[in-house]
């Protein structure tokens, strides 16, 4: 089992602008580590640097305590799945799967055995003699996966492997990949731009933007306590609602465009030490105001609904707020018409506050809906 360790890793193509700057992270053995960020953030470059397909401009990369900066990709004990699968069109599925093994001069009988084991695991046994062009997208994806795991490398790198599949297949492959990773206990480094994949698959996720680390942590922690405004907007669907707000220390209140007024604990005001902040609130924390919801620390405000999406078990309300579009997510089916005035309430414990100038989080929500199943036996 080998840890992958990146220390002050940087990448620059022209020696002037950095595609990746000062990346330091330690990826533990057996971990499912997801690199997520918008396109062009450098996540694929980082993966390719770990693979050895891109040179490292600065910093060190170690795999299992061994510095591998200049080691050839084939010597790094890794396997990789590419976005376009990179199957060899002239070879059959079986030949594709064992290509790496035959290059490494693994005996034929063993090649065959390993190929069949992997094919069985991925449900490819019936297709071993076919050519890639005779397979569907999902099957090709499986072949690419089989080709990676047949090598039995302890580290597997995946570069947006599901982006060419349709939504249903993607959901299925998500759980399959996760299961295989657990079953074989391999270290997975997985690149995606899809935050759903990041949330559902990763043991830990790393959010990258413009070549810089924004936050590293378990998905739920990142969701609950985003390190900055970028992460807040990027993780979560629909995204977190953000607006400029002002703190008035004299009467200990926070005001958002004069429509939301929240009472602040004095120690928070002191700790934050700024008056111009950005408030962030998850759509599920904007609930219908009732007479009971008028408790201390909460605020009630009315909005005019501009768009409604009923998703079967939940309802999304869109409305204009503070020169932006906000969304509220309610459980269940709600018959709300466009143009209706709806009273909403939010509680201070549910909001995030960010420093407007730096974008960094200065107050994280304390109210999270965490449900634990205790003593339930199935």
């Amino acid at each position: 089992m080998k840890d992958v360790e990146l220390t002050h890793l940087s990448k620059s193509y022209d020696m002037q602008t950095e595609v990746l700057s000062d990346i330091s992270v330690s990826i533990h053995a057996g971990e499912f580590f997801v690199l997520v960020g918008p396109s062009g953030c450098g996540k694929s470059t980082m993966l390719r640097m770990i693979a050895g397909l891109e040179d490292i401009t600065e910093g060190t990369l170690t795999i299992g305590q061994k510095k591998v900066n200049d080691l050839h990709p084939s010597k790094r004990d890794i396997s990789m799945v590419f976005q376009n699968y990179a199957l060899y069109p002239h070879l059959s599925v079986e030949e594709n799967i064992v290509f790496g093994l035959s290059v490494k001069k693994v005996p034929k009988t063993q090649r065959k055995k390993r190929c069949h084991r992997v094919a069985k695991m991925l449900g490819l046994t019936d297709y071993l003699n076919r050519k890639p062009r005779q397979l569907s997208g999902g099957q090709r994806q499986r072949v690419a996966l089989a080709r990676a795991i047949v090598n039995e490398s302890p580290i597997c790198l995946m570069d947006e492997p599901l982006s060419n599949l349709d939504a249903k297949l993607r959901a299925q492959m998500r759980s399959e990949i996760k299961q295989i990773q657990r079953q074989l206990n391999i270290t997975m480094i997985y690149v995606t731009h899809d935050q759903v994949e990041a949330m559902t698959m990763g043991d830990r996720i790393m959010i990258l933007n413009e070549g810089k680390i924004q936050q590293v942590g378990p998905p739920i922690d990142v969701y609950n306590a985003p390190a900055n405004e970028f992460v807040a907007k990027f993780i979560g669907s629909p995204p977190m609602n953000l607006a400029k707000a002002t703190i008035y220390p004299d009467n200990q209140t926070l005001s958002v465009v004069g429509r939301i007024h929240l009472q602040l604990p004095p120690e928070d005001i002191q700790r934050m030490g700024t008056k111009e902040v950005t408030i962030g609130i998850r759509p599920e924390h904007l609930q219908l105001a009732t007479s009971e919801s008028q408790q201390p620390g909460s605020s009630k405000f009315e909005v005019k609904v501009s768009h409604v999406e009923v998703l079967g078990n939940e309802t999304l309300l869109n409305f204009e707020f503070a020169e932006g579009n906000w969304q509220a997510k309610w459980n269940g089916q709600w018959r709300v018409n466009v143009g209706d005035i709806v009273p909403l309430s939010l509680h201070y414990s549910a909001i995030c506050l960010f420093d407007t100038t730096t974008g960094n989080m200065i107050k994280q929500p304390t109210q999270n809906e965490q449900h634990l199943i205790q003593g339930v036996s199935i």
């Binding site: 050839h72 069109p89 290059v103």
Partner: protein, 273 residues
């Protein structure tokens, strides 16, 4: 319906007229080649022969046979070598780029635009000094070098369509430069090879200037010998025509046998998958 029919008729009429114009010389060649010598004259150029006489073919063949073989000895190795080297160049220039590789490629392409005539004297001097003047070997070398720009260009563009990730995947699997070339690049570029081979085969087979200047007598390829067939006093047109047909036969066969790959290869870049 009637309108559609008229346009179809018109289309075919034009095509048929074009085809006739295009095939007229071929008709004259074939008709003349099977006439006995005394029937060949400008006045009766278009007339069909009174009797079919294949003796001109026998004569042309006996005269041209050694040169025909010379051409085979020239064109087969030269085509294979220039295709293989072009493939290697294209592979490096598209998949193993290095600093200055684009510049190198541009300079190589420039070789395509150097007229044959301008390098004849230095070329002959060079071949003489390395002992390849007046030999098929010298001609092979000349054609391989002169063919490299175009074969490199063709293969480089062909390989540009092979995704880089395929190469990278093989690299991670541990395949090296030559292993990737042999096991992935060559099998994937069979149609590219066919296109390049047809191209080079035809060009080298039909080439005259290098052939006539670099070789004489025994080592001359067929195109030079065909020219010499006409003699100095009287031209035996029927033998000349039969010889021309024999000389054109191999390229014709190559097109007929590999033609469908040629079209497919030329279109390979435009259609995905």
């Amino acid at each position: 319906m009637a309108k559609l029919k008229l346009s179809t008729i018109l289309k075919y009429a034009v095509l048929i007229v074009m085809a006739i114009i295009f095939l007229t010389p071929v008709y004259v060649i074939i008709v003349t080649s099977i006439k006995p010598l005394d029937e060949v004259s400008l006045d009766h150029m278009w007339a069909l022969p009174t009797a079919i006489d294949f003796s001109s073919y026998i004569k042309a063949f006996t005269e041209l046979a050694p040169n025909f073989m010379n051409s085979i000895y020239l064109v087969v190795p030269a085509t294979l070598l220039s295709a293989l080297l072009g493939a290697m160049n294209g592979y490096v220039l598209s998949k193993w780029r290095f600093k200055g590789s684009e510049l190198l490629f541009t300079i190589m392409l420039f070789g395509m635009f150097i007229p044959y005539q301008s390098i004849l004297i230095p070329l002959i001097q060079f071949l003489r000094s390395i002992g390849l003047y007046n030999s098929i070997g010298g001609l092979i070398l000349t054609h391989v070098v002169y063919g490299l720009p175009i074969t490199t260009l063709m293969f480089r563009n062909f390989y540009a369509n092979i995704p880089d990730s395929m190469i990278e995947s093989a690299k991670i699997d541990g395949a090296n430069f030559l292993g990737i070339f042999r096991h992935i690049i060559i099998p994937l570029s069979i149609s590219g090879f066919v296109v390049v081979a047809i191209w080079q085969f035809t060009n080298i087979w039909n080439e005259f200037l290098f052939a006539v200047t670099i070789t004489n007598s025994d080592s001359q390829p067929i195109m030079v010998a065909l020219q010499n067939l006409s003699g100095s006093q009287i031209v035996q047109w029927n033998v000349q025509m039969a010889g021309a047909l024999l000389a054109a036969l191999p390229t014709l066969l190559v097109y007929i046998l590999l033609g469908k790959y040629f079209v497919r290869g030329l279109l390979a870049g435009s259609v995905k998958g």
